[in-house]
Amino acid sequence: MSDYLLEMKTIVKEFSGVKALDGIDLKVRPGEVVGLCGENGAGKSTLMKVLSAVHPHGTWSGEIIWEGQPLEARTIRRTERAGIVIVHQELMLVPELSVAENIFLGREVASRGGVLDYEAMNAKASRLMADLKMSHVNVALPVSHYSGGILQLIEIAKALGKNAKLLILDEPTSALSQSETRTLLDLVRGLKDRNIACVYISHKLEEIEAICDTVAVIRDGQFIGQAPMAALTVDKIIHMMVGRELKEKYPREPHAIGEVVFDVRHVTCHDPINPDKKKVDDVSFTVRAGEILGIAGLVGAGRTEMASALFGHYKGPHSVDIHLDGRRIEVKTPQDAVSHGICMVPEDRKRHGIVPLLGIGQNITLAVLPRFARFGLIDEAAEFSVIGHEIDAMSIKTASPLLAITSLSGGNQQKAVVAKMLLPKPRVLILDEPTRGVDVGAKYEIYKLIYGLAKDGIAIVMMSSELPEVLGISDRVLVIGDGEVRGDFVNDGTLTQEKILTAALTKRRQAA
């Protein structure tokens, strides 16, 4: 009766009262490639988690019709049996196991006694890889033998091995080089012949344009529309993705901008696992005293990698040339960075920001503890007076500095982490996603704080994937895409989200 393989109807998903998805519709025909587009945090991943029952039936409202029947799956096993298979952005392969063992992980071919039948598995795995035109891969070798794009293809083979009728690819090319990307795109096109449908999630709109039959756009959890690619252009998709008006959420204050303080030349970071892939490719920029430089770019553009490299924290091959106040400095460890007056508020607060078992006060003084010590003995009186001052200055809402830092809300934890990184009196402050996981009110306070710091003459580098935030706060915006600089704009009021997004999505070297 229905000519759709999948129909998702008015899907609503709430997280503790906040609507992450608010009435999303998505339709997929058999063998069709549907592009799913939206800004970071628009709800793409949440929608796919609803579809694959990571969020089981009952935790959301709406309806999923699969092959004409309602699908009320509570487990991922159930959706996989139905033929819905998701390939996550992060690869889920066990490096020590062979390609074939990975492909059959969890569904091993074995005799009744539980003894693995390697011949059968290897034969089937070879056939799957051959279907993907990857017959040169030796399925008996461990996965660690291969790298980059081949891993992504092994993941897809693993998904197809589950008899997928619908394959969900979440940013499959984010870790791939150009030629590997081309192979992958060919492969997705080839799925059509085998009547396998695909939901293709990507920030790279040229890929969407190249392989998708229809495109669905969501924004802030709202369904914007689904249309055939033939009726769309990349510009139209960008407009649908951005759409919203910029409200006065940003306490802009005039501040004086001084001399160049932070001069970064030729940052290059290689992927630690696949060194052929450059996560950051020869990025240079300068920041002046009191200037707020916003670094915009989509997820995977290389912002966090760059921030890590500037702070002596990048865990892979990289090179960087940093000048502070005109003098070249060596930054090999975070300790070097802090001692030179470069501080960073990291993106992942839980993993890199807070020390959970220490109190609020002890977290705040972590970076400057020796300052309060004589012969190694801490003068707690002096320490507490500074802590009290910081808690007031940052308006951290707490009953006592002795409480566990985990007792604070996300916004107040973030303020404590910022306070910690301000105590060393930095010349340069790198803020990586400073308002992630912070509610609206606390966001406003953090913005005010950033302006206060700029007024004090600190050079500020703010990485953010929220374009309104970048536009609302920055004096200048550096746009990064695929690891390279794709735009350097003065934020003089004429800069728009569309301009930034267009720059982020436009390959510079191809255009030339």
């Binding site: 501080c343 890199h352 990184m421 060393p424």
Partner: protein
């Protein structure tokens, strides 16, 4: 009503882990006291018990820092044996003066600890493996340098540090001084908290705490005086307890040990040199191996090739029973020592009852498992 009472009882116990540990000790002592017709609780046995726990306690006091920092050191038993053996050889074979022997062995202990720590911090070898390697290699060195035989007789000067007792008057004066010191510290911390507008606990609570500490100190000293005074190893352990508690609570290094154990990445990103912290932690435990090794040799009046065998396991068990988390980031020195006291009490009491060794091992193993489970079960709730 009664459940409310139970709840506040439970919160007090989970807030002040020391109370529940002391409660466990009280139960064990009363039980053994009853089973041995009171003999377990005599001053003489009390003195023995403390001397027995001293060596494990010394190792545990160092080990607790290692575990708080998120690592483990399995080599301490063998290192104790080796350093004790070196002390005996220096004393017996080369006739070193006692002070020179002590200083040499302490320096060697520190160096061996730093060597272990270097592999962990700067070479990225998991501490479990470094410890296991040390466990085998240090014992091997000991067998090699002693030819597998006991080194004896140790000079009387060295024997003193293992077997002598502090004169009663000196012990009493020391106890009074410690009591005064604790009192001054408590009231100074009250004054400080008031100055910085922090919550000051009600006066009666601190007075009660002080009285409690006074009773414990007085009890200890009176019991020990009844026999022969404070044994030197117990005195050393007491000094270690005081100094290490100060290190863990009031020094930059101590704070960083907790910080590294709780979240090493966040600590590193705050500009702290976390490698040096780990290196120092292993140095500290190496130093404690030297102290424990000297004490062991002095107590036995000989260097024995089996000294410290399985000492690492007793030390780790003491830390864990005393409330140190294997996940790192939390634990106390006094907890580790109370853990050692619990272990020693079990050993001592069961031996006195003539319980066979295999039963002793089974009971100790079960207690360890139970202690960890209690820790996990209670921390999951809060």
């Amino acid at each position: 009503m009664s459940t409310g009472g139970m709840q506040s009882f439970a919160t007090i116990f989970s807030r002040y882990k020391i109370l529940s540990l002391l409660f466990v000790i009280a139960v064990i002592w009363l039980l053994f006291g009853w089973l041995t017709d009171g003999y377990f609780l005599t001053p003489r046995n009390f003195s023995n018990l403390l001397r027995q726990m001293a060596i494990t306690g010394m190792l545990a006091a160092g080990m607790v820092f290692v575990i708080i920092s998120g690592e483990i050191d399995l080599s301490v038993g063998s290192l104790l044996g080796l350093l004790g053996g070196v002390a005996a050889i220096l004393d017996v074979v080369y006739g070193f003066p006692v002070l020179a022997t002590i200083l040499t062995v302490l320096a060697l202990g520190l160096m061996a600890g730093l060597f272990n720590g270097w592999w962990v911090a700067y070479r990225g070898v998991p501490s479990f493996m470094v410890g296991l390697a040390g466990l085998m290699a240090y014992r091997g060195v000991l067998l090699g340098i002693t030819d597998g035989s006991t080194v004896a007789p140790v000079s009387p000067g060295l024997v003193l540090i293992g077997q002598a007792y502090l004169p009663r008057l000196a012990g009493d004066l020391l106890a009074g001084f410690v009591f005064l010191l604790v009192g001054v510290l408590i009231f100074r911390s009250r004054a400080k908290r008031r100055r910085y507008n922090l919550d000051v606990p009600p006066l009666w609570q601190d007075v009660l705490k002080l009285i409690g500490i006074g009773v414990v100190i007085a009890g200890f000293v009176i019991m020990l005086d009844e026999y022969r005074g404070i044994p030197i190893p117990v005195l050393v352990l007491g000094i270690v307890l005081g100094v290490f508690t100060l290190i863990s609570r009031q020094t930059v290094f101590g704070r960083r040990v907790y910080s590294v154990g709780s979240n090493v990445e966040a600590t590193r990103l705050s500009g702290v040199n976390v490698k040096v912290v780990k290196l120092a932690v292993f140095g500290l435990v190496g130093l404690m191996c030297a102290v424990a090794g000297l004490t062991t040799t002095a107590r036995l009046a000989a260097g024995s090739v089996s000294a410290g065998n399985l000492g690492e396991l007793d030390a780790i068990a003491s830390c864990i029973i005393g409330g140190t988390s294997m996940r790192g980031g939390s634990g106390t020195v006094y907890g580790a020592l109370i853990g050692a006291l619990i272990m020693a009490s079990l050993d001592n009491g069961m031996s006195m009852l003539g319980v066979e060794t295999f039963w002793q091992m089974i009971v100790k193993g079960s207690i360890l498992l139970l202690a960890v489970w209690v820790d996990i079960a209670t921390s999951a709730k809060t």
